[in-house]
């Protein structure tokens, strides 16, 4: 529903997303309005990575916020969700 009261249907079209960590890559055709978290979990499983030690972002924006979708990340075809290892230091 918009501010003017009109119903707006969610964008259910698909977008081609690549998830990348170091040089490991997987591409998915994924609905724009679905949370990307499922992709990230799947990517980590396929690549045998510990999901809790990897942080993902897309175009400089956090891709891990609850409910984040390709639509909310304003992703276009061939955009990349980049993973990097959780960093800490002393």
């Amino acid at each position: 529903m918009t501010a003017s009261g009109e119903d707006v249907k969610p964008d259910t079209s698909k977008v081609r997303i690549t998830v990348e960590f170091n040089e490991q890559r997987l591409s998915f055709l994924y609905k724009k309005n679905k949370p990307v978290e499922k992709l990230l979990i799947l990517f980590c499983e396929k690549m045998n990575l510990d999901r809790r030690t990897i942080r993902f972002n897309c175009n400089g924006r956090n891709a891990e916020q609850e409910g984040t979708t390709a639509e909310s990340l304003q992703m276009e075809d061939d955009d990349v969700i980049e993973g990097h290892i959780f960093q800490q230091g002393g």
């Binding site: 990348e20 972002n57 924006r61 956090n62 959780f86 960093q87 800490q88 230091g89 002393g90």
Partner: protein
Amino acid sequence: MQALATFPPDLSVTDLLAVKLPGITEKLSNNFRKTKGWFSTDLPNCDPLTSLWSLKSTPSISLLRELEHDFPQEWLNGAKSVLHPFNNSLRLPLFALGFFRKIHDLREGQEKWSESVEWARDEVPEADLGIFDTISWNTVHSGALDGQLDWTRLVADEWLSGGIIDEMMVDIQSRVAAIPLHAEITVAPLAFQRAIIALSINKNPSKYTLRLLDGYKKLVEAGKPRLYFPLHINNNHWIAFVIDFARKVFGYGDSLGRKKSGSAFTPHLRKWLDAAFPDVKFQNLGGALLSHANQKDYVHCGIYTGKVIQMRKRLTG
């Protein structure tokens, strides 16, 4: 308890600390010491929420990790439920494993926030503890790398994470931008280091990586010749790095006083510099370039890194 059914990350710190969570199961019958004993091919036969929240304890984190590891195979073998650890006749739904994991997360959140509240109470007597009623315990913001729980590192004498370092850099950059005297300075977040490495090791760097580095090149060309940024090295240490495009030098300041700390990063940096500024020959002045204080422990390098960049220490090389 029902309010916690979805484990809301925006629960306030005060509310989180008030929740009574199940403990950790220390004594389990033989049947439950091996992961195989936890799974059943029976269908779940109890109300999940009531049964799960009424548990007095949950498996230890090490046992839970084993259960999570074995789950896919057990599921393929026909597992449909998890045995109730304290009632042989009850079968919990398989998402009980996710519930156990969330309980561990909440428990960790309680421990860390509890330390932070204690610290604020003891060390900052004038602090308004009411703030803990209003801040959420682990909301993840779109601009940050990690959830709010990460902030407890600041008062718990823990290593600083990339999320906190990034927040520091964003804050310093906003202050720098407001001072005309510092018009020649740019402070970059961790994305800069990542982009430099991604450009160096990836045959096809992402559009974002190329756009980001191009943006910093344009800033230099637009009259901002000094670029400061944090560098994460050896997977355990933060140092402050600077490129001075006017003097054609780069180097760093390491609060542990080491002189070769940035050596793994500089070949990656050179690739970008050679490609983006082909007519300039940059000199690596290593750890001699940025003056800095030395840390007296093995915890606070992140604070020193932020401070060196915040003070924009004069280049000593």
